[in-house]
Symmetry: C2
């Protein structure tokens, strides 16, 4: 999905005026020859028109934005082939809507708790459901995907509360060593924040965690928010308006909102992290990796050449390469 700043290049102008330390001339960046033709097509595609975000208190405006963005993604997902042998149950788990996906021949004793992406406002409902089916095929296991509540009606802490409630419920049905947690983008934020809360609440941690280009710093302090501006084919500007909508007045730097700033020295699961060199969340991802490594946590980093946020949207062989990494990682941890 395309998510763009309201202000377009205004954020660039602000940067120039405040700390003009590295001046770059106007330039055209060629599509590199170092990636597959499918990846080149994505990198070279025309960028969508910038979104305009409504004021924070314009609830109707936000709902219109969410509906139109989700409709675009849902139309794309509708074209995906669906394996008829997969079962999907819509269930209520302690008050939270969860999609339970069981692929054919899913092994017993393995479950993947999936927290969807979408900038903390998008990707719920049918999109969450469709993505869960895809995730189940990727990881070759049962998936529980949380259709957590979101802004504008349900800002922090409602989304995190929902994820936490489902994790707690999952622990009643599975042992910790049977559970892998995964989150992409905004789901990566919730996954890390949820596990920090679980750990601090004395709950056991899952056997492993998968973070795909995670939005772990809502303050957007990472360098790639500037350096990859205009280069990422997917995220084309600051998401600060959405972050503020989610925070609803809370401090964005609170580790519950920006879990990059959490304390990982008290324990955290082995983690696989993925990003791309053009990803606006490149800094988020590499900083999260270093935070885990500095705390002594096993953590594997994989970076796709020239890929933006979300890799190449599942349409390039490079994505399949990362899928294999994820599959090997979760298999190794589920196998003990």
């Amino acid at each position: 999905m395309a998510i763009v700043t309201p202000a377009g290049t205004d954020s660039l102008v602000t940067a120039v005026e405040s700390v003009p330390l590295t001046q770059l001339p106007a330039r055209g960046i060629p599509v590199p020859s170092s990636v597959s033709p499918a990846a080149r097509a994505i990198i070279g595609a025309p960028r969508p028109e910038p979104l305009v975000y409504p004021p924070l208190d314009d609830v109707a405006g936000w709902k219109t934005l969410v509906a139109s963005q989700d409709a675009g993604v849902a139309a794309m997902l509708g074209a995906w082939p669906v394996d008829a042998a997969v079962t999907v149950e819509d269930v209520d788990v302690d008050g939270v809507r969860v999609y339970r996906v069981t692929p054919p021949e899913a092994p017993d004793g393995r479950v993947y708790l999936d927290l969807h992406g979408g900038a903390l406002i998008l990707g719920g409902g049918e999109i969450c459901r469709a993505m869960a089916v895809r995730t189940a095929a990727q990881v070759g296991a049962r998936v529980w995907s949380v259709d957590y509540r979101m802004p504008p009606d349900h800002p922090y802490p409602a989304p995190l509360d929902d994820c936490f409630a489902v994790y707690r419920a999952l622990l009643r049905e599975y042992r910790p060593e049977q559970i892998v947690v995964g989150g992409g983008s905004a789901g990566g934020n919730l996954a890390v924040a949820m596990l920090l809360r679980a750990r601090d609440a004395g709950l056991p941690l899952p056997v492993a965690l998968v973070l795909t280009t995670p939005e772990v710093d809502l303050t957007e302090s990472g360098d790639s928010f500037q350096t990859n501006l205009g280069l990422d084919p997917v995220i084309q500007g600051s998401l600060m308006a959405v972050n503020l909508l989610y925070a609803a007045g809370r401090d964005l730097a609170d580790p519950a909102l920006s879990p990059l700033f959490g304390d990982f020295t008290k324990g955290f699961p082995p983690t696989l992290l993925t990003t791309g060199t053009r990803d606006m969340f490149l800094s988020n991802t590499v900083r999260m990796h270093r935070a885990l490594r500095s705390a002594g946590i096993a953590a594997d980093l994989h970076v796709l050449e020239a890929a933006g946020h979300g890799g190449f949207l599942g349409m390039a062989p490079e994505d399949a390469d990362l899928d294999r990494e994820v599959r090997a990682f979760v298999d190794a941890h589920w196998s003990g």
Copy 2:
């Protein structure tokens, strides 16, 4: 050391004219708040004047360039404290000058074969010797550092021949499981090319390999050669003139010159790779990592936030963080 294109922004103009696919406006990139004050000082420091490379056949011009660049680095290294308890022997190993460094209490049965950086023309002699002492402290082991011949007098294959000769000699004194090979920048090129040659010659491989921001693609096909142009505080332009000097008419894409394009499926040692998000060799490094992983080789990637080529030149806590990763990696592999 500062290595800059002869043409300055001309390479940008060329890019614009050939494939103008992603247009970026002129902008100022602020020094990020996401790194240490020491790192911020390096990122925000004024960039040196661009170098002007001589024509390929101007041997005297190249020698003058090398001498002046090396003198600057040597002056900087002269200020480093030297541990008097370290012994350094200048030895001839099958016709190649090698510095053998023994730090105090170096364990027996561990040796680190170090191939120095410097764009394949710089960093020999006293610089190589001083860097070897530093490497020995980093890895806590004996170091053999190869003062390989270089252009303009000795282009490919002389530098690689020298490294290969020393590796072969090292195998007479140490078992493969006692040997770790390391190379940074141009030394990373030689390290990978040397091990591909060794493997294809039927020699045993070392227990592990360390590649710090390796120059494994002399064709410079990676995306970061464009995207990080002007952002990397150390490498400020294409090194193509030097690459052509080294190649002396050979095909730059030959895996012996650009070992990224080698075949790693026939075996390669476990490898640790480091780079930074502003590194001109970011693409080199992540592509090398993916090439190894795709071939089923154990390979760990570490990426420093906002760091250019060579991290923060050993002057920031972020460098110490990577040093700890390298130390843990080599210790784990030496310990079997």
